[in-house]
């Protein structure tokens, strides 16, 4: 039976309670009659032989590109860049797609007699990956062959020796990227495209760029004018990256783009009930829910977090395409939409969503309050095409414990941002103008980013900007079950229960509002008409 498309349920009296993420736990909540619940499509059938599909894609490129084997020759400089730990979410079961693709590329390079090969983790301003994370992404064969010789590197956006300025775009944007990548005869970029925003020119123009370059599109103005940044036609973020990407290509950097899409089979079997429609839960699903929720209630935070972060997604490959960047990305976007798009009619007064334990920036770490804001207002709010699911001036209700807790190793600048900057103001424009420069150039943060596993000093600012469009659009944000002090610091309202939150929402949108709930996991994108 082919997978069912997404579904919009209208809640009636016989609708069972609906599952909501609540950080590293979940709840069943009853919604008022007449509310809508948007369910994602079921997972597409994965490709049965991914390795064969990858080899086929490498030798049958799309767009204006020769097959990979024809681009390889002895004596050339080959750089293989790959997406970092922020993709996919949760991390997928071994073998990771990056391992499959990179092994296929290296096989071709070995066959062509290419000696000078370097692998680069395209971190942008993210933290450096740990050895276990690299081993998981690349597999032990690749890691052991390259890391001991210093040929497995991680992009350093603060290393002037290893950056090259390629020029300015028509809009006056600096394009400065990784020197090794820019000076190679061929740059192969290996993507995992979890959402429509991933990939395309953004891969190189963002993943291998410096702060000097990134600040041109990671800013409040760009974010507010990306409606949404998952919708290429209406994304200023997309446009900026495309301008930069075309300049990179014009500068003589030859990019062979490889993009892969996954189905939304997100959680392994004991937790598969998370992705099911509640009225279809079997006895096993209900037992699984009860066992998981009751035992998680009695589990210490640290253990609970490690349980969730050790989960590996059983996602399967749904497409792989290689060749010229823009042609590849067009095919990829179609495949992402094929899995994720759900048609929804009309906007809503109140949008509710449960936030999970993970976002792109807290893999193996704590979901701090800034990341809660970024996930809810940045990512989930922007998972739309056409119009936002919630009307202008509407209310967004998030469910997450939002603990006042930070990972000092991974997120040192987040702590200061939360303690100092948000204590003063939550206005993105004011924050950008008054504080960004000092955090971005702070030598201590730069040192931690370059030598430790810290996100760049400016990264919490970007997280805040990520939600700027939602902040601009919404009348109020309410967090259910969050730490009250932390929620207040974010500038949001706190509610103990969903019922309380819905009552509070009426103060903004009036009595008897329309309510829409986003059911996740898995991820989906609303096509709002």
């Amino acid at each position: 039976m082919s997978p069912r498309p997404g579904y919009v349920l209208e809640v009636d009296r016989s609708t069972p309670p609906i599952l909501m993420w609540h950080g590293d736990s979940f709840r069943l909540e009853r919604f008022p009659t007449g509310s809508r619940v948007v369910y994602p499509p079921e997972p597409l059938k994965p490709i049965e032989d991914p390795d064969a599909a990858i080899r086929h894609a490498l030798e049958n490129p799309v767009g204006d590109s020769a097959p990979l084997s024809a681009l390889l020759r002895p004596g050339m400089r080959l750089t293989i860049a790959f997406d970092d730990v922020s993709l996919p979410l949760p991390p997928m079961r071994a073998p990771d797609l990056r391992q499959r693709v990179i092994e296929a590329v290296l096989d071709a390079a070995a066959a062509a007699g290419v000696d000078d090969v370097v692998l680069v983790a395209a971190l942008a301003l993210h933290r450096r990956m740990t050895e276990p994370e690299l081993r998981h992404a690349l597999g032990n064969r690749v890691y052991d062959a390259f890391a001991p010789h210093g040929l497995l590197t991680q992009h350093d956006a603060e290393d002037p020796e290893n950056l090259v300025h390629l020029g300015l775009t028509d809009a006056g944007e600096d394009v400065e990227i990784n020197k090794r990548a820019a000076t190679s005869d061929l740059l192969v970029y290996v993507n995992i495209n979890l959402v429509a925003m991933d990939g395309g020119h953004k891969s190189v123009a963002t993943g291998l760029a410096s702060y000097r370059s990134l600040r041109h599109h990671h800013n409040v103005r760009t974010m507010v004018h990306s409606r949404s940044f998952m919708d290429q036609e209406h994304s200023e973020l997309h446009s900026a990256n495309w301008r930069m990407g075309r300049l990179i290509a014009a500068s003589g950097v030859k990019v062979f783009q490889i993009e892969t899409t996954l189905n939304n089979d997100t959680f392994p079997d004991p937790f598969s009930f998370l992705s099911k429609r509640e009225w279809e839960w079997s006895l096993r699903d209900r037992a699984g829910y009860l066992a998981a929720s009751k035992s998680l209630e009695r589990t210490p935070d640290r253990v609970r977090r490690s349980i969730f972060h050790s989960m590996r997604a059983p996602m399967g490959l749904t497409s792989v395409q290689a060749g010229e960047v823009e042609a590849v990305h067009a095919a990829t976007t179609a495949n992402v939409y094929r899995q994720q798009l759900v048609p929804v009619e009309g906007q809503t007064d109140v949008l509710t969503m449960g936030l999970p334990y993970i976002c792109p920036y807290n893999v193996n770490s704590i979901m701090n309050p800034i990341l809660v804001m970024c996930l809810g207002l940045g990512y989930f709010f922007n998972l739309y095409r056409g119009r936002p699911l919630v009307r202008p001036g509407g209310v967004l209700i998030l469910s997450h414990p939002t603990p006042w807790a930070f990972d000092p190793v991974f997120h040192p600048s987040y702590i200061d941002f939360f303690e100092q900057v948000l204590a003063e103001t939550t206005d993105p424009l004011e924050i950008e103008a008054k504080y960004e420069e000092s955090f971005a150039t702070d030598p201590w943060y730069v040192h931690l980013y370059r030598t430790g596993h810290a996100y760049h000093g400016v990264h919490p600012f970007y997280m805040w900007y990520w939600g700027a469009h939602a902040l601009d659009h919404l009348g109020r944000v309410i967090i259910v079950g969050g730490d009250q002090a932390a929620v207040r610091r974010l500038g949001f309202k706190s509610a103990s229960t969903l019922t309380d939150a819905l009552e509070m929402a009426e103060d903004v949108v009036g009595r008897d509002p329309t309510i829409t709930h986003i059911h996740n996991p898995p991820l989906f994108m609303a096509d709002v008409t």
Binding site: L9, E10, V11, S14, P17, E278, R286, Y289
Partner: protein
């Protein structure tokens, strides 16, 4: 006047009963979820009829138990009550591999009788294609049919993929199949037109079809009878029918019906006369004369004769007994 009015009386008579706490039914997820009214309910998952899974009935332990049942109970019973004369069994000796047996169908006794008459090398590796709507309409009946008869469900009103595929898979796995091409028991002792199931199966798998004629069970336990009439029976195996290249199921079914009719003729007369009539196309049809009412019953061949005359238990007989 407190305490003297009706209210006061009721005060004094009030008995303090312990408060019973009636447990409220636990909701979802402790109990099954309710189904939203706006969501169309899918048809319930069926475990009966053609969807009944008979795989368990072909496991070794079950086969052994069934063999014990057939050898120690069914065959002695059949030989005591409807002792069969088996003819044409030598025609099976030259055949190899699994076979499709196609027999006329008069009675519930037919399968037990057939199993008793079938050579041992086929007897315990045979499945019976049984009507899904009759033998598999509930789980108990389905389990009993699967166990006792090694029955597999087929749809007799239409050809569904599942009911066509399973017998084919079993043939490929070395199991022979007994099919009653009429689709059900005869209502009046004369055969009904043969349907194409057995022919389709033979064309699909290349297995030979063995025509079988069963007689006598229409007297012993005809359709609708409540009492068993012990009688002599005959099981006649015919020559295997093999579909010609390009021959369709309808033509093969017609040939099969003609072969069974010739076997019926052979039982009534003798082999040579039956073959001559078959060669000249004069074999009496299995379906009997195209006349109505009592004349169809009158035209039925005489049975071989009962083992004993049944006792007349009517009131008239009791009064006039001497």
């Amino acid at each position: 006047m407190s305490g003297s009015g009706p209210a006061g009386l009721s005060e004094r008579l009030r008995v303090r009963l312990p408060r019973l706490r009636v447990p409220r039914p636990a909701g979802f997820p402790w109990s099954a979820p309710t189904w939203p009214g706006s969501v169309p309910m899918p048809p319930p998952e069926r475990h009966t009829g053609v969807d009944y899974d008979t795989e368990w009935s072909r496991r070794y332990g079950v086969r052994l138990a069934r063999a014990v049942l057939v050898e120690s109970l069914a065959r002695p019973f059949v030989h005591a009550v409807v002792p069969p004369t088996v003819e044409g069994a030598d025609r099976l000796e030259e055949l190899e591999g699994p076979l499709v047996f196609a027999a006329n169908h008069n009675s519930h006794l037919d399968t037990a009788l057939f199993l008793s008459a079938l050579p041992r090398r086929y007897r315990h590796r045979l499945v019976v294609a049984a009507a899904a709507d009759y033998f598999f309409d509930n789980r108990w009946k389905a389990a009993l049919s699967s166990f006792a008869l090694a029955a597999v469900p087929i749809e007799r009103t239409r050809i569904s993929r599942r009911s066509a595929d399973l017998p084919a898979e079993l043939l490929a796995d070395g199991w022979s199949v007994l099919i009653y091409p009429e689709g059900g028991r005869s209502p009046d002792g004369w055969a009904q037109p043969f349907q194409g199931g057995a022919a389709y199966l033979a064309i699909k798998t290349g297995a030979p079809i063995v025509p079988v004629h069963i007689s006598g069970t229409d007297v012993a336990l005809p359709r609708g009878a409540r009492r068993l009439q012990p009688t002599r029976t005959t099981v006649t195996f015919g020559r295997a029918v093999l579909p010609e290249p390009g021959e369709n199921a309808r033509r093969v079914a017609a040939r099969l019906e003609a072969e069974v009719a010739a076997l019926a003729d052979e039982r009534r007369t003798d082999w040579w006369q039956a073959r001559r009539r078959a060669a000249s196309g004069d074999t009496p049809p299995l379906s009997g004369p195209e006349v109505g009412g009592w004349r169809r019953s009158w035209a039925r061949p005489a049975p071989k004769g009962p083992l004993r005359v049944p006792e007349d238990r009517s009131a008239w007989a009791r009064r006039n007994r001497y």
